[in-house]
Each structure stands twice: as structure tokens, then as C-alpha cells.
């Protein structure tokens, strides 16, 4: 049973292209994850949470899970190394290889996803959403300027009406002058 959706076949073409090059990156990620689990295991205060003798302390459940995770990660890393022994010599994680898996435009879309909440905070929903839509559509290869502008504005208006007006979910208004503009628009509505 595979749960990566129907696009799985397309998705795995890039990683198959650089299969042995990608495995080193995979190993590094696994080791980092293992270190994170070890750090979490030792960072929790084991003295808290057990007020009665025999009661499970606060740390018992997460530490048990972390222990399982650490053991499983070690096994997984060993399996990975044994399976690809000898192939690591030809493996590298150069930028070029990563670009084969994750092209620049997609990386920029990911960065936009991280910038959008920042935009929400400072310039508010009404300004950050059309900018986000416009830039993401451009990065995704949409060439038609008119469509980009119309869709950006349309989606913003539809979502504003739906969430802010109909569902009474107060959307982010931003700070400073942006907040004043949004308040003025809301007063008009």
C-alpha cells in the first residue's frame, strides 16, 4: 500500500535520476533525526510529574517513545548503510544534485510559504494574499499577466468575504499604515 498520492510515479523520476547521489543526503537526514531524538530524550526533566508512588511521571510516555525511535532509527541507518555499501564513494550532495530533486522555482515557492505568515503579521491579509498569489503563480510558470492579476485579486476578495464577513473570522490587519487602510476599508463595508 502506497500513500503518496497519484503523483508518486512522476515524483520519483527525479530521485531515480540521482538515486545513489541522493542516498548520502538521506543518510545525513536520518543521522540528524537520530541526534534530535537523543537530544529530546535527555532534555526532558524526569523528576516532574509523579506525585504518587507508582504513578507514571510526565516524562515516561515521551521517553518510551523516544527510546523506540532511537532504536528504530539506528536499525534504519544500519539497513541503509548495508544496502548501499560501496555506493557512497560516488555519492555527493552538491547543489546541482539537489536542484535535480528540488528546482529553484519550487524552492522559491517554499520560501514564499514561509514569508506569507510574516506578511500577514506586518502588512495584513488584504495586501499579503494578492502579492503571494501573484508571485507564486509567476514562479509556477504562469505567463499571462492579466490572469495573474485577476486571480490574485479574485481569490483575495472571495476569501475575505467568506472568512471575514460571512464566518466572522477576523483576518490579520497588519501594522501601521496597512492597518489604517484595512480599518478604513472595513468601515466602508
Amino acid at each position: 500500500m502506497q500513500l503518496h498520492g497519484g503523483a508518486k510515479q512522476i515524483l520519483y523520476i527525479p530521485s531515480q535520476v540521482g538515486e545513489n547521489r541522493y542516498m548520502l543526503f538521506e543518510l545525513i537526514c536520518d543521522i540528524l533525526l537520530l541526534l534530535f531524538f537523543v537530544f529530546c530524550y535527555f532534555s526532558i526533566d524526569t523528576s516532574v510529574g509523579a506525585s504518587q508512588k507508582g504513578e507514571l511521571p510526565s516524562s515516561a510516555w515521551p521517553q518510551s517513545l523516544l527510546l523506540i525511535l532511537i532504536v528504530c532509527m539506528i536499525i534504519s541507518i544500519i539497513i541503509h548503510i548495508r544496502k548501499h555499501r560501496g555506493e557512497f564513494k560516488t555519492s555527493s550532495i552538491g547543489i546541482k544534485n539537489l536542484r535535480n530533486v528540488f528546482p529553484l522555482s519550487t524552492a522559491l515557492v517554499a520560501i514564499m510559504c514561509l514569508l506569507y505568515p510574516v506578511g500577514l503579521k506586518y502588512i495584513g491579509f488584504l495586501f499579503s494574499t494578492p502579492i503571494f498569489m501573484f508571485v507564486v503563480m509567476s514562479l509556477m510558470g504562469e505567463k499571462r499577466l492579466g490572469l495573474r492579476i485577476i486571480m490574485s485579486l479574485l481569490v483575495t476578495i472571495v476569501l475575505y468575504v467568506l472568512f471575514d464577513i460571512l464566518l466572522q473570522v477576523p483576518l490579520a490587519r497588519g501594522l501601521g499604515v496597512f492597518r489604517k487602510i484595512v480599518l478604513a476599508i472595513e468601515a466602508l463595508l
Binding site: 500513500l3 515524483l11 516524562s59 510516555w61 515521551p62 500577514l120
Partner: protein
């Protein structure tokens, strides 16, 4: 019993109530389809409208919103891989691949019909066995609920048979992520690292939207860019008209619907369990009993039917402890309880004697809601499916904005949007490394229930862990869980060794 049924339909079949139920279904389906607006939130938003209604009208209206919200969530799960409510997460496993294979119409049809069948089954069970089901619910203490949650986890090893270890790690990681924040029993901070946001724990909905929807958009964007294909010209999953399930298809999955209906109803009556666990458990059961478990997740109607039948059956199940015992089993039921109590309704064992019209009205309105729901949801699905005709550069952007809004609207919190964006980006590495986002979400959903009930059970068993696992029902549930967890692993190992031998020969 027949009196209750006749009385119920007499109450429901009044023009005013029929109109109210229809409005409730429309509102509920739209709420469900909007990411970030979950079923309890939808019900809560509609409570003020019940102030001017009578008691029976009020509960019928809220029941309509509740049932329809669970169904509406399936629409975006299938079309965009955004689960409208957490209980629709398993619908994405097969619904989205079906949509990608040009079978969106079929998937939507299966989702709506199976939802209606599950909901109707639960309503009938509620009518016939309300008292008996309540007694069963009362026998389920924290130890048994821990067993049920563990049973839900047993699906982990079946979610991806090609990478069982990584899927198992994903599930346990989900359980671990659920421990971040305040300890559910004593309120101690865990893994908050000084962050005030993390005190409240990692929110399930933003994480789920991130790893499902955002990861998918980014991966699809990447694969299309690498494939030198123009995103704006990328083929869309074809016409998305909603068509009802054919009778032959329905007959083919009759046992799936029956099993999922029973599971959904039973899980629904358990306090604290709810539609999300029901849908995961329903899906897991179908994977386990299927002769072709490897086909699940590739886009088959059994997967969609199992998830949607069980989550809708759970809505009916949740009404049993609410009306018969006065115990709200979940957040939506709790909102309904407050609305009813404000009308002077005394929920509990005396309801049938003192105010029988509430019981019969709820049963009948649930059945009617499930019938109306099919018509209304088809109509709403058609509107949503229009978006599918857009080029992927536009569709992908809309999905991203919807995902952002869904995460924000949950608590009006910008940090939830960050969590969603980070989850989406980390999700790419996760998927590329063959970890399972579905298992991660399953762990996150069940994490709190597992720990909370285990610790409460240990306290109730006089601080004895042995006392917890030796309770007959818990022992049976845990043993079943162990067998179901180990069996697929053994099966995979056997298959691999057979293949090895064949190659050697």
C-alpha cells in the same frame, strides 16, 4: 420503538423544519469543505441561529450542520488533498489518487453515498439500540480507550508495506509530536524549549494541511519543473462531475460499508474517541481484511468508502451518549449539549420519559439529513470541482492560499501558518525519504488519547500497569493490536525471502 420513529418523522416532516435542515446541510457542507473550519467550529458558529428556534428545531438544525460538515470535508480531501476536517484525512489516501487518475467524479460519488449510508446506519442503530449502546459505552474506561487507540495504531505497519520500518518510525514520531506542550494529566511543560506557542502543543490541523496539501503542491511543482513540462499546461484530472455510485459498485463494497458503519457507530459512542479515530480505524480494518491490501492508497473506492462511512457513522454514534446519558462524546456534541440545555432540555436517562420528542426528532432528522446531504453535497462538489479546470499554476497557488487560510482561521494565529508552512517543506524531505505522512498524522491524532487514557488507567488501577493490561477487554484489544501489527511484517519478510529464493534458483 415504532412510536418513536413515527413521532420523529411527524416532527421532521414539517415545512419549516425541512427548510431548516436543508439550510443546515448547505452550511455544514460548506464549513466542512473549508479547511480550518472543522465540524465543532461549524456547529458552534450556527448555535446563535438556534436561539430563535424551538428546542427540537434547534437540535435538528445542529445535527444537520454536524453531519454535513463531516461529509463536506471529503470534497476537498479528494479534489485538493486538503482534509476539510481531521476525520477526512484517511479519505485523501485513496480519494486524491483517484482524482489524479481522472476518477474524481467516482471518488466524490462514493464519498457522498457511503457517508449517507454510514450516517443513516448510525441513526437507525441509535433509534433501535440507544440504551444498549449507552451501556456498552459505559463499560469503556480509560484502559479500554487506550486499547482502542492502540488498535488504531496497529494500521501503521500496513500503511506502506514497502517501507515498514520508516512507516513505523513516522507513526511513533507522530505520537511523540503529540507529547509536545502541557502534560495532559499534571500540566507540566514538555519539549516547549521556552516557546509560549509550543505550550499549547503542535496543532494537528496545520500540520496535517502542511504535510498533505503543501507538500503535494511543492512536489508536484518540482516534478513538473524537472520534467520540463509547463506547469500552466499541466494536464488536470479531467472533468469532475459528481456521479452517484453504480449499484454494482455499491454491491461490491457492501461489506466495506457494513463493517465501517459498525466500527464508526461503536467508536462514535465512546467518549473522547470521535469521528477521526473512527475513520482511521475503519480504513485500517479494510486494509487488514482486504485480499489486496497493496491496492489501498493507490486510488480504490473501498478506501474512500471505508473512511467516509465510518466518520459519518461516528456522528450518529456520538449522539447516543449525549442524549441517553447526558455525556458529550466530543467537542461538537458538547456544543450541542450547551445549546440544548439553554432550551431547558434535561439530557440523560430521563429524556425518553420526560421529553421523548427530542430523542425521536434527532433520530428522524439524522436520517432525513443524510438523504438531503447527498443532493446538496453533489451540488457543492460541482462548484468546488470547477476549480479543478484551472491550470496547475493557478490551482496550486489557490491550494496554497486555502491551506494558509485554513491554518490561520483555526485559532486566528499566525504561528499556525508557520507550522503549516514548515510542515509542508519538511514533508518534502519526509516523502522523498520514504517516510509516511499518513502514519505521522495517525500518530499525532492518537497520541493524546493514548497517553491520557493510559495514565488515567494506571491511576485507576492503583498505580499498577499490570492492572491495566489485565482487564479482559483491554487485553483482547491489545492482543489484537499486536497480532495486527506483526502480521503484515511477517508477511512482507516471508514474501521477500521467497523472492530471494526464486532469484537464487
Amino acid at each position: 420503538m415504532l412510536d418513536i420513529l413515527i413521532n420523529g418523522f411527524q416532527i421532521v416532516f414539517q415545512p419549516q423544519l425541512l427548510v431548516l435542515i436543508t439550510i443546515g446541510v448547505i452550511a455544514g457542507t460548506i464549513f466542512g469543505a473549508l479547511p480550518g473550519v472543522n465540524a465543532p467550529m461549524g456547529v458552534a458558529l450556527m448555535v446563535p441561529f438556534t436561539y430563535s428556534m424551538g428546542g427540537v428545531e434547534g437540535i435538528a438544525f445542529l445535527v444537520a450542520v454536524y453531519c454535513a460538515a463531516i461529509t463536506g470535508g471529503g470534497i476537498t480531501s479528494i479534489l485538493f488533498r486538503i482534509p476539510g476536517t481531521p476525520s477526512n484525512a484517511p479519505t485523501t489516501f485513496d480519494g486524491y489518487p483517484m482524482a489524479q487518475n481522472g476518477k474524481a467524479a467516482e471518488a466524490l460519488g462514493v464519498s457522498l453515498i457511503s457517508s449517507a449510508l454510514g450516517g443513516t446506519f448510525a441513526a437507525i442503530c441509535m433509534m433501535l439500540l440507544s440504551k444498549e449502546l449507552s451501556d456498552v459505552a459505559l463499560r469503556f474506561g480509560p484502559a479500554e480507550l487506550f486499547g482502542v487507540a492502540m488498535l488504531g495504531l496497529s494500521v501503521l505497519t500496513s500503511l506502506d508495506t514497502k517501507h515498514p520500518m520508516k512507516t513505523f518510525i513516522s507513526g511513533i514520531l507522530g505520537l511523540f509530536l503529540a507529547t509536545i506542550g502541557l502534560d495532559p494529566v499534571n500540566g507540566y511543560k514538555r519539549f516547549t524549549f521556552g516557546s509560549t506557542y509550543l505550550i499549547g502543543g503542535i496543532q494537528m490541523i496545520p500540520l496535517m494541511i502542511g504535510v498533505f496539501a503543501v507538500t503535494e503542491v511543492l512536489l508536484r511543482s518540482a516534478s513538473l519543473q524537472i520534467g520540463k513540462e509547463k506547469l500552466s499546461d499541466a494536464p488536470q484530472p479531467g472533468k469532475t462531475k459528481t456521479k452517484l455510485m453504480s449499484f454494482s459498485d455499491m454491491w461490491r463494497i457492501k461489506w466495506t460499508i457494513l463493517r465501517s458503519s459498525i466500527i464508526g457507530t461503536l467508536v462514535g459512542i465512546l467518549p473522547g474517541a470521535g469521528a477521526t479515530i473512527a475513520s482511521f480505524l475503519g480504513y485500517a480494518t479494510e486494509v487488514k481484511v482486504s485480499k489486496h491490501p497493496e491496492k489501498f492508497g493507490t486510488g480504490i473506492i473501498e478506501g474512500v468508502a471505508a473512511a467516509e462511512t465510518s466518520n459519518n457513522a461516528a456522528t450518529g454514534g456520538a449522539m447516543v451518549p449525549l442524549l441517553a446519558l447526558g455525556i458529550p462524546g466530543g467537542a461538537a456534541a458538547a456544543v450541542m449539549a450547551t445549546a440544548l440545555m439553554s432550551k431547558g432540555v434535561s439530557l440523560g436517562p430521563l429524556l425518553l420519559q420526560t421529553q421523548p420528542e427530542y430523542l425521536s426528532g434527532t433520530f428522524a432528522s439524522m436520517i432525513f439529513t443524510n438523504i438531503v446531504m447527498v443532493v446538496v453535497a453533489i451540488w457543492i462538489a460541482r462548484i468546488f470541482s470547477q476549480i479543478m479546470k484551472l491550470p496547475y499554476s493557478t490551482l496550486g497557488s489557490i491550494i496554497l492560499v486555502l491551506a494558509m487560510m485554513g491554518s490561520y482561521a483555526l485559532q486566528n494565529n499566525i504561528q499556525n501558518v508557520f507550522v503549516m508552512a514548515i510542515s509542508g517543506i519538511v514533508g518534502i524531505i519526509f516523502v522523498k525519504q520514504n517516510y509516511s505522512p499518513a502514519a505521522l498524522v495517525l500518530g499525532l491524532v492518537l497520541g493524546d488519547i493514548c497517553e491520557n487514557n493510559l495514565r488515567r488507567a494506571v491511576v485507576l488501577a492503583n498505580y499498577s500497569f499490570a492492572g491495566v493490561i489485565s482487564r479482559p477487554m483491554t487485553a483482547v484489544l491489545l492482543l489484537t493490536c499486536i497480532v495486527l501489527t506483526i502480521y503484515p511484517v511477517i508477511k512482507t519478510v516471508q514474501k521477500k525471502s521467497k523472492e530471494k529464493k526464486a532469484i537464487q534458483q
